[in-house]
Amino acid sequence: MIRTLRIVGQNPLSLLGLILVALVVLAAALAPWISPFPSHNGAVVDFVYANQGPTARNWMGTDLVGRDILSRILYAYQISLFLSLVVLAIAPPVGTLVGLLAGYMGGWVETILMRIVDVFLSIPPLVLAIAMMGVLEPTLTNAMLAVTVMWWPWYARLVYSLARSEREEGYVLAAEVIGASTAHITFREILPNCLPAIITKMTLDMGFVIIIASSLSFLGLGVQPPTPDLGSMVAEGARYLPDSWWLTVFPGLAILVAVFGFNLLGDGLRDLLGVDE
């Protein structure tokens, strides 16, 4: 642990990443306590303060119905992180299972599983998500579902290629020789050797999932108002540029900070865990 921190500390960029991620996570976790106007998270309007730039009362200004933008960003982080965590709790295990089975077992299992993966990968991810959201109702659950469906094949592909090369390694052959079961070999022998790559990808993906989820809500297909969401805040504010710039700039920066943080941290982890590009 101390070694980890020291290595992260030696790389100023990953340290920055760690700090940004910590800030975002803290902001989301403490939103109800640190946001200046916790009620602005819900169905509240306050037209007296509508559409004002940054002031001492509202550090990031207010939106068109008078809600504090800072408060809404803090709450929006909750949604973004929650969505990313759910997606990354489902997509990687599914993808890993598919990749491991296909990579280790080969033969028709490989053919069937990887062709399915290819079908999913052949559709541009955002298009697939938009199509799904078009059919389903735009809600948080469906947004998570749509992003998960487009995300797991990438893990399947990654783990598949790792498992294929591990399959030829001496330790796998040794396990086979002593009669270990397929389950044992895949999960106890091959999987641990793939974990660093998976964890690195997950960290990097936190940022990308936030971007994709924001893109969906930018298009009006994600979380619905009044629930705060970074993507829809940017989308709504964009109509009022350049005059009411605070409506777009602060939520945009909030997306930037989160995605940048996770990317830098992911890069640092990759170096730390010795994963090849």
């Binding site: 009006g220 009044p226 964009a238 009022y240 350049p242």
Partner: protein, 522 residues
Amino acid sequence: MKTKTWLAAGLLAAIAFTPSAYAGGTLRLDEVAVGELDPAKASDYADSILMFNVYDTLVLPRQGGAGHVPHLASNWEIDGATYTFNLRDDVAFQSGNPLRAEDVVYSVERMTALGAGYSYLFRGVTATAVDSLTVSFTLETPYSPFIAALVRLPIVDKALVEDNKGNEEWGETFLSSNGAGTGAYIVTSHNPQEETVMTKNDNYFLGVAEAAPDTVRLRYGLEAATVRTLIARGEHDIASQWLPPEVVRALSEDGAQLFSETGTGAFYLKMNTTKPPLDDVNCRRAFAAAFDYDTAIQMIAITDDVSAGSPATGAIPVGMFGANGPERVQTQNMEKAREYLATCAYDPAEISLEVSWIAEVPLEERFALLFQSNLAQLGVQSEIIKLPWALFSEQVSNPENTPHFSQIFVNAVTGDPDTLLYGMYHSTSAGTWQSPENLNDAEVDAYLEEGRTATTEAARETAYSKLNTRLMDLAPTIYGFDRQSIFAASNRVNAPAISDPSQAFGLDGMGFSFRLMEVVDD
């Protein structure tokens, strides 16, 4: 702040060459998609602009006053339910064909056969060509605002359509992308999602002034931020009325002109009376009492003296037959709302209401949020749904798919209250974008019939006044405010028919008759 200074500097530079003479340059404006060019299918504002410029009608509303004046007609006579019009003999279509009585007959028949757009105004009307320049209309049932309705009967070039109709009976494909009128502007290209380009018709029967625009580019579906930037850079002339008030205010502060068109319509939150809990009148009354009318009015103020609307006094806009006086201005009353809600058959805790807003009209999202917070004060849950116009107008054809609350701006399409109210509330008109209430009330139907058949103004006033009272009691709609359309415009244009009350038509969209506008040369 810096951006603002730049923009202001840019605009000052643009204003510096103050137009000395209007010389008919290019006029650029925008509206919400789609632009329906077929005059028998036209129904909204964009369609009206196209209709009034590409086509002409027998009569026009009198500019700056009440009543109607001859236009394609030279005069008319009314004999009971028969209206006889003599046509001008000097009018030619854009194709070169002369205007004949058979074209008028064809236009009525085509309109009623297609049954779209404003065809409901001409149901039961039989047109006959008495001779080549005389046409008579016989009405099955008396309809006192018939002359007013004629401003929605664009006359189509029968011979041209017949030549180009292909396999279709009424040439819908041809007319949805080509003009076939006598109008002052000729369509040169038309893409209903993007842009219609029109040029001046040099052979127009009334002539077109030199200063009127030579070319008009009507673009569809521009983003508010795009319009804002284009106008600031001098690349756009008249913004649509759907810009949010903040943007109009910013443009006005930068020196843009504001045209206000005094309308004959209102902003409505329409309740789907077929869907629980809105099938219970007390629930509807509760929600109507809970809406924060005062804040809505504040939200649409643009400058100290220009606003996109004034307080509603009831179901009929001020200035029309049957309107209530200013003492009846609608206000929020939470106490009453709670009383009504207590007598509503549904449990408020179990209600979840859909409040929709039209994606092209960002202002409506704020009304949705305002109303959502009003409902929350009542302890009622609601969900906000954003619907693009095209999707909304399709969904309302089925009451089950119609949201609980639909936000709509509606205007009297001929300036007469009949055309505002009949289409909204008569039981036979249910299920259009104007009537997502799906109201079915015999008393309302009776007053509406009385209003359109009564022959004296006093009788019409009484009928509409009773209708007003009945509607306020039934509460099918939340009457947000009486509206006025505000257009931000560059200093290259002058549009007296919109903004000068003494030249205004009193009919939404007709002020956009380009032949009456003036534009500096480009």
